[in-house]
Each structure stands twice: as C-alpha cells, then as structure tokens.
C-alpha cells in the first residue's frame, strides 16, 4: 500500500513539474487522451464490456462544449459541464440499447450507434461538417482566471484529470466496483447472486461515457477545436489501443498507453498513413504476444502490487 502511495505521489509531482520541462500543449493532449482511456478502461477493464464506440462521447461532447463556449459564450467550466452532461445523456440512451446484447454483439452495437452519431455530426448544422468548430475561445475560468496562457490551461486540465482519476479510483474500490468486477469474472454467477446485472452494466456504461465526454469537452476547450476526427470510428479504435497497450484492468495502464500513442502520433504525424500502419501492427502484436499490456505485465512480474 505504501509503495503504491509513493508511486502516486511521485506521479503527482511529475504532473506538477511537467510544464517546466515539456510543452504544455503536448502535455494537455496526453492528459485528455489519458482521461479518455481511463474512462474507457472503466468499462473494458473492470466490467468486461468492449465498447467500440467511445468516440461518440468524446467527439460529441467536444462539439457541444465548443458550441457552448463559442456561440453561447459560456465560461469554460460551464461549457465543459454541458458537453459532459450531453455525453451522459447519449450514454444513457445508447447504453440502454447496447446492454441488451452480450459480448461480441455489444461491441458491434456500440460501433454502429457511434457511427450513427458520426453521421448526425456530419449533417448537423452546428458542427460545420468538414471544417469542424474552429477557434473555440478558452475564455475565463469562473469569469476570473484568463486561460489564454498555455501553462494556466495545463493546470486546469491537470486538475480535471486528477479529479476524474480519483473518481475512477473510488468507483473501482467501492462495493459497486466489486460488483462490476464480479460481472466481468462471471456474469451468470453475479446474476444468480441477485444482482441486477443489466442495471449495473448500464450504470458503468453511463459513467464511462460521461467521463469520456469530460475528456472530449476538456480537449475542445484546451485546443479550441472540435472536428469529425474526434467522433469517427478510428478514434474509438485509438482509445481501445491505448488501453490495450497500457494494460486493460490496470489503473495506470491507460495513462501510459495514451502517453505512448500520443507521442507516437506526434512523431509520425508528417508521415500520414504510417500512423495507421504502426497502430494496426501494434494492435496485432499486443493481442498475440502482449495481452496484459505494459503495466499489466509489470504488475504480473512483480507480483500483484500495482
């Protein structure tokens, strides 16, 4: 317990010191995607449900918060909140449909529903189709703190990330989280113990979608941009890869996975389609040889500590 507390403290120090070493813009991107991956991991890693449509929360929340900040002129925290609330709403409706099917069908249903949201975003007037919502103002936090400065913005993103991470930590270690894990391990058994499995799954789905929406909404404010890329199926695939690479069902895995993928995309960005080749190959290698992911592998070698 002490070792992991020391680890978290070290990571906190790292997050606080990071903008003095690295580029705040890059760090914000890592944190937004790390949050996205953590939210996704809540579902796949701790409930055993593979959603192939998480981009719908991320991307749609980005559009809503961008619209709220730019057109309605809301302050950033309200803009992010409105994006997040919309994601929760979508999560409730899509989750209600998706939990009716299990396993592989669940993945296909979420993918298809996400594609539907994607087409809605292509056609809806407020998303500006191919252009996306551009130059979204960061505005002033609570009407007081100007977020124009990248470092200030970074700390806001950091606080959001830490709060969401703490929430996920709390969820996983709560009795509710234990029920989710039991569903992951053996669904019929959880059912026979009297748990309303579908309702638990739905709640997990909504929580995961809401947090993914929080990530997308924050990203839209931090980067002033919400586009179709955020809501397309490739984005859903990316978050799966981040989680798989870092380690499904580990707390820190998705964070590490997101950091690696975002770094890789930064380096390969000029090479266009190479990104998708490398990502595809990473997927294949992870599934064939490396199913625990990096953090999972470390935890496994060192005996269950992390």
């Amino acid at each position: 317990m002490n070792a992991s507390r020391a680890l978290y403290l070290a990571l906190l120090a790292l997050l606080l010191a990071a903008p003095f070493v690295g580029y705040p813009i890059f760090l914000m991107k890592v944190l937004c995607f790390a949050l996205f991956a953590c939210a996704f991991n809540l579902l796949i890693g701790f409930t055993g449900l593979l959603s192939f449509g998480h981009a719908m929360f991320f991307g749609f929340a980005a559009y809503v918060s961008g619209h709220a900040a730019k057109v309605w002129g809301l302050t950033p925290e309200l803009a992010i909140l409105s994006g997040t609330v919309c994601a929760a709403g979508i999560g409730l409706v899509t989750g209600w449909l998706a939990v009716r099917r299990q396993g592989i069908y669940f993945a296909m249903v979420t993918l298809a529903l996400a594609q539907m949201i994607y087409f809605v975003c292509v056609q809806a007037p407020f998303t500006y189709a191919e252009d996306g919502i551009q130059s979204i103002p960061r505005g002033k936090l609570l009407g007081l703190v100007d977020l124009k400065d990248d470092t200030t913005m970074y700390y806001v993103v950091m606080v959001i990330f830490i709060a969401a991470f703490a929430l996920i930590y709390r969820i996983i270690h709560s009795p509710f989280g234990q029920v989710l894990k039991s569903i992951r391990e053996n669904e019929p058994r959880a059912l026979s113990l009297g748990y309303n499995v579908d309702r638990y799954k739905l709640l997990a789905f909504v929580l995961s979608g809401t947090l993914a929406g929080l990530a997308g909404a924050t990203k839209a404010i931090a980067f002033g941009l919400a586009t179709l890329t955020d809501v397309g199926w490739q984005m859903s695939g990316e978050v799966v890869l981040m989680t798989l690479l870092g380690g499904m069902g580990t707390l820190l895995g998705p964070v590490l996975g997101a950091a690696i993928i975002v770094t890789m995309q930064n380096y390969l960005a000029n090479l266009g389609s190479l990104v998708s080749i490398v990502m595809g190959a990473t997927f294949v290698v992870c599934v064939l040889l490396f199913r625990r992911g990096i953090v999972g592998e470390i935890a496994h070698r060192w005996g269950k500590k992390a």
Partner: protein
C-alpha cells in the same frame, strides 16, 4: 413522366436498384461474417478491409498486368483467400482458447494495417475501374433503364448467396461444418481434420468478401476507405439479422439495402443512418435479432 407519391418512377426504381446492389454486397459480406463466426467464433473486423483488398487486386491486375475483369473475378478472390489462410494459420489460430473479444481486436488491427498500407501507396482518393465493354449500356425494361452491370452484380450475388446457403445447409461438407460448429472435438474424433476445415472456412469467407470487392470495383471508386465504410453498416446488418442463420443474413442484407435505397428517395437526410435506426428499433423489440439465437 409517371409518378408515385410525387416521385418520378425512374428515380424511384433507379434508387431501388442501387439499393438492391448495395444490399447484395451487404448480404455477401454478412454471410461471410456469419460463416466465419459459426466456425471460428470470431467477428472478422478485417472483412471490410479484405473486400477493399479484393477491389484493389482487381484494379492492379487491370492496370499493371492488363488482366481483365473476368480473370480478376477468379484471381483476386483466390489471392484474398490465400491472405485469409495466412492470417488464420499465423494469428487467429492462437486465439481459439481466448475470449472472443481478442479476435475482434486482432482483426481490427489487421484492418487498420491493410487500410494504412493501401493509403500509403494509393492515397485516400478513389480510383476508377473501367467497366468491361460487354457491360456498357442498359436494358430497357419498360418502366426504367436497367444498367447491364448492375443487373449482373445482383444476379451473381444472389447466386453466390444461394450457393453458399445450399452448400452449408444441404451438402455433406456443410453437415461437417455445422457439426464442427456445434462440437469440434466430437467431429475430430470421427477423423475429420477440423483445423483444416477452420482454415478453409476462413479463407472461403474472406474470399467471398474479395469477390464482392471485385464486383464493387466498377460501381464505386476503388479506395482504401471503401472497406471501413461498408463494414460498420454490415455489422449493423448482422446485429439486426443475428448470425445464427445463413438465409437470415441474406434476407436481412438485401432488405436493408432496399430500405436504404427507398429512404434516399423519400427522406434523403436519414439515408446514411437509417440502418442504424432500424438496428436500434430491433434491439428494443427483439434483442436477439430477427433470425437470431443468442450464443
């Protein structure tokens, strides 16, 4: 000009025909998915990418080697089938004992990989595939003009679907396959080479996708993105129909193609989402799918 509900009949039947063509492709692809799922318990996400690969092989054969459509119709699916053998033997085989989700993840990676490779070399804009001379022009069937090539695609697809259905449901080979789906160990005990059967099933399924790709090449532009565009719709088709029944996949695929064509005429705004909306309704009313049995 004659009209139905204020829509010129020519436009209506034109869209219905296009819907039928799309529906035929949905049917072939979802049929392949169903056959593969039955035998391997894997949802083949790479199905769309292999369909795209088939179209590209046809394009390459024509433009690099001057080999025409008719040979491509055999060579390209065979090549895609070989890729399938390779994928099954080197990768999917190792996932048999694991959760189904890993198969989906692996084939998703393969889809990204294939799409990336073709994008690297050919860019993401589409390339036209020249229609063979025999198929130029259209039949005049009285109430509309029927382009020859579209008629050909519909006829061939229907034949392929019924042929597959016949082989699986009515022949001895199909009986082995179905038995292998139910209980592979027992079938092995009868001296049947189940691993070989699994490999060939996968090769056959993706070969069908490759063939669909060749047929699609002259209608749509040959583009690296054509696979991912269609596979998600096909997944929705599979959710609607359920993967339990071969005939069910065929009927669902064609019906949804037609419905999509109709919406293009009457309410074009939702034509790209109508399949997903139907999926949502089916999930509400009949969660197991129209022809489905939960597995």
């Amino acid at each position: 000009m004659t009209e139905i509900f204020g829509i010129p009949t020519a436009a209506l039947f034109g869209q219905l025909l296009l819907g039928l063509v799309n529906g035929s492709f949905y049917a072939i692809l979802s049929l392949g998915l169903a056959v593969i799922f039955g035998m391997l318990n894997i949802v083949n996400f790479a199905h769309g990418a292999l369909y795209m690969t088939g179209a590209f092989f046809a394009w390459m054969l024509l433009n690099y080697a001057g080999i025409n459509y008719w040979y491509a119709l055999i060579l390209a699916p065979a090549a895609v089938g070989l890729i399938g053998v390779l994928i099954e033997k080197t990768m999917l085989r190792w996932l048999h004992q694991l959760d189904h989700l890993y198969g989906l993840l692996l084939t998703f990676g393969l889809a990204l990989l294939l799409e990336g490779v073709f994008r690297e070399f050919y860019g993401s804009s589409g390339m036209p595939y020249e229609l063979p001379a025999v198929f130029r022009g259209a039949f005049d069937v009285g109430f509309m003009m029927l382009p020859k090539y579209r008629a050909w695609v519909v006829v061939v697809s229907l034949f392929l679907c019924l042929f597959t259905w016949y082989v699986i449901e009515k022949t001895k080979l199909g009986a082995y396959l179905r038995a292998g789906t139910e209980n592979p160990n027992l079938v092995k005990a009868f001296g049947i080479n189940v691993p070989l059967m699994v490999t060939l099933t996968y090769a056959f399924g993706v070969g069908l996708a490759g063939l669909a790709g060749v047929m699609a090449a002259p209608i749509y532009q040959v583009s690296p993105l054509m696979g991912s565009n269609i596979i998600i719709v096909v997944f929705a088709v599979v959710v609607i129909g359920g993967m339990g029944s071969i005939l069910g996949s065929i009927i669902t695929g064609i019906a949804l193609g037609l419905i999509e064509g109709l919406t293009k005429v009457f309410y074009a705004e939702i034509s790209s989402t109508v399949v997903f909306i139907i999926m949502a309704i089916v999930l509400m009313v009949r969660p197991a799918g129209l022809f489905g049995r939960e597995k």
